[in-house]
Every structure is written in C-alpha cells, then in structure tokens.
C-alpha cells in the first residue's frame, strides 16, 4: 500500500524533503512507518521516543493501522501561540 508522508519544520530539515509517497507492507502500523524512517534518518533514530503522529489530519496512536491512501505525518514539538 501507498501512504503520503508529510514533513514539517525541523523534521523537514532533518529528512531533507517535505513530502513523499511511500510503499509500506499491508498491515503496517504508525509505529512501523516511524521505524522505517528512523532506519534511514540518523537524527530520527536518535530520538528517545516516537514523536506524535497524525493520520488524515487527526492525532493517531502508535498502533493505528495504516491504510492505502492515508496521509501520515510525524509532528515536531508544536510551538504555536
């Protein structure tokens, strides 16, 4: 299946891209997508824990099952206001 991955702010700087289409095995969960990214981007691998994630514009738990066409984003610490 294909998911659309978005990168923002410091995560975009670390990953060197702002979005990509990524093929993941069927049955992948949010945490599996993070593990795949962390294996590619050393800065991500250094994080003590998985950052908050959003699927289709809503916060999603690490064990959320991903589906074909989902929009997934891992979110740097927010700093609005």
């Amino acid at each position: 299946m294909n998911v659309k991955l978005l990168y923002f702010a410091s995560f975009r700087d670390k990953a060197g891209r702002d979005e990509e289409s990524r093929v993941l095995p069927e049955g992948s969960r949010v945490r599996d997508a993070w593990a795949a990214l962390a294996s590619e981007v050393p800065d991500f691998a250094a994080f003590p824990a998985m950052p908050p994630a959003a699927v289709n514009l809503e916060y999603a738990a690490p064990d959320r099952l991903l589906r074909d066409g989902d929009e997934l984003a891992f979110l740097p610490p927010v700093a609005g206001g």
Binding site: F8, S10, A79, G80
Partner: protein, 143 residues
C-alpha cells in the same frame, strides 16, 4: 478559517465575537524581541494547515461543550512576522467574566500544546532555530 497570512486585526475579531455580551476577554500573543536571553529579529510561523484548522475547530467545539454560554474566536497568523506583530488572538465572550477568562485561558493553553504550528526564531547574530518547548529533540545548546 482560523489561520491567516495577513496581519491580525484583534478589534475586528472582538466585534465579530460580541454576539452575546457581558464579558469579553481578549488575549493577543505578540512577537518578542528576545527569547531565553537571545535577541531576536523575527519569527517564521509554519502550520500543517488543514490539520491545524481541524485541531482548532475541535478545540473550539470542546470549549463550547464545557461552557455552552461562551463564544470563542481564534485567529493564528502564519508566515514571517516582525517584532511586535500579533501572532495569535483569542477572544472569549460570555455573560459573566469568570467564564470568559477561563475559556480564553484554556483556549490559548490548549492551542500551544495541541495545534500543529511551529516557529523558527531568527536571532540578531544571523542564526535561526526551530523552537522546541519540550526540549525533546533539541541539540545541545552552544554557549
């Protein structure tokens, strides 16, 4: 729409919110000329636009459930802001001041922790950095 690239007109927001009167509580966040001991020249706000809109809508709906008589308006600016520019405005109106203050406070506090908006600070020495209130992913700070 809760996000804007244009300057925030807090007075216009107040007149829009004043459907029910009694108390109007206004919070306006303004870009500082310093942060944590460093002189700043401006801030770039970036949002995950569609999610930030949805998250602020959820926040406003949650406040309406908790305080049915309170009406809350929120406007957050994105893009490059200069010192003194308003970055966010929250207007809460209610029949009585207690609810207006409480809802205004809750709105800005929750916005700061849940809405996917980020800011990059520009420093007078020419450097810049993403602000990380949690320090979770911060690189060791150079002194």
């Amino acid at each position: 729409m809760y996000l804007t690239r244009d300057p925030i007109d807090a007075a216009a927001l107040v007149s829009r919110a004043r459907a029910c009167d009694g108390g109007v509580c206004v919070f306006v966040g303004v870009v500082r000329d310093h942060n944590e001991g460093r002189a700043t020249t401006g801030i770039e706000y970036e949002a995950y636009g569609p999610m930030a809109e949805a998250e602020i809508r959820r926040l406003v709906n949650g406040l309406a459930e908790r305080w049915p008589q309170v009406r809350v308006e929120i406007l957050h600016r994105v893009g490059r802001l200069a010192i003194g520019d308003a970055s966010v405005a929250v207007v809460a109106t209610a029949p009585h001041r207690a609810e207006a203050f409480a809802a205004c406070r809750e709105a800005i506090d929750r916005l700061k922790t849940t809405v996917p908006i980020w800011k990059k600070e520009f420093y007078r020495d020419g450097t810049s950095d993403w602000v990380d209130p949690t320090r979770m992913h911060a690189a060791p700070r150079e002194r």
